[in-house]
Subunit: 105 residues, 2 copies
DNA sequence: CTTACGCGTTAGCGATGGCTTACGCGAAGA
DNA sequence: TCTTCGCGTAAGCCATCGCTAACGCGTAAG
């Protein structure tokens, strides 16, 4: 409810992941991204809006252009969430190995 | 053509993330999950199929039931992918701080 | 001022996705 | 055996999503 759009949702689309991966390598402008992708410029704009709403990228006007870059905070949030999954899973795995319920393989 | 989609796509849906979070805490059966969620049992089955195709969960028959648990391998793959984003982003940030291009007031 | 460029936004369309209802199959329990 | 329980799957409906085309606004250059 209070959540905007989750970062998971933002990175769900393949095109959007490609855009994000390019921004991870180096910041760039909207038309710069559009020129390297098989979609139109407005499509890139819409994808960037989703990524921005999810807190994964930030934008800054630079003359006529508008430069987008990755927001470390949003990326860190995703990483933290995934780390919780990871640590819980590992904990469950450890106890499962120490106490095999029935059938040792 | 709905072959093994990315883990990102699998975790995009909110309901599916909830299912995955429950499995992270403890393995459970299909109807067990359905009882705790506001969706029907077939819906849970379909979600579990997506998670399974993405390599995030594994299933094992247990009598009449079928127990689903998190697959550490799939989770590790996602973690690795995210870590690449993270390290690249941090590297770009470090160089940006060490070499500020300009400082317009 | 006029022109050109870069972006964001909207409307509309086709495709994708999640959900329910209704079915069929296999594994316990009586 | 037959009956019940737990699951998976197919069909169909409806919402959402990604895309393009067209428009309007602000900035830089002529």
């Amino acid at each position: 409810m209070a959540y905007a759009k989750s970062g998971w949702t933002a990175l769900a689309d393949a095109t959007r992941r490609t855009i994000f991966e390019r921004l991870v390598d180096h910041p760039s402008s909207v038309s710069g991204l559009a020129r390297a992708l098989p979609v139109s410029r407005p499509a890139v704009s819409q994808h960037l809006r989703v990524l921005k709403d999810a807190g994964l990228v930030v934008d800054a006007p630079a003359g006529k252009q508008r430069i987008y870059r990755v927001d470390p905070a949003g990326l860190a949030a995703l990483r933290a969430e995934l780390d919780v999954f990871w640590s819980k899973t590992m904990a469950a795995y450890k106890t499962a190995i120490e106490q095999p319920p029935e059938e040792p393989k």
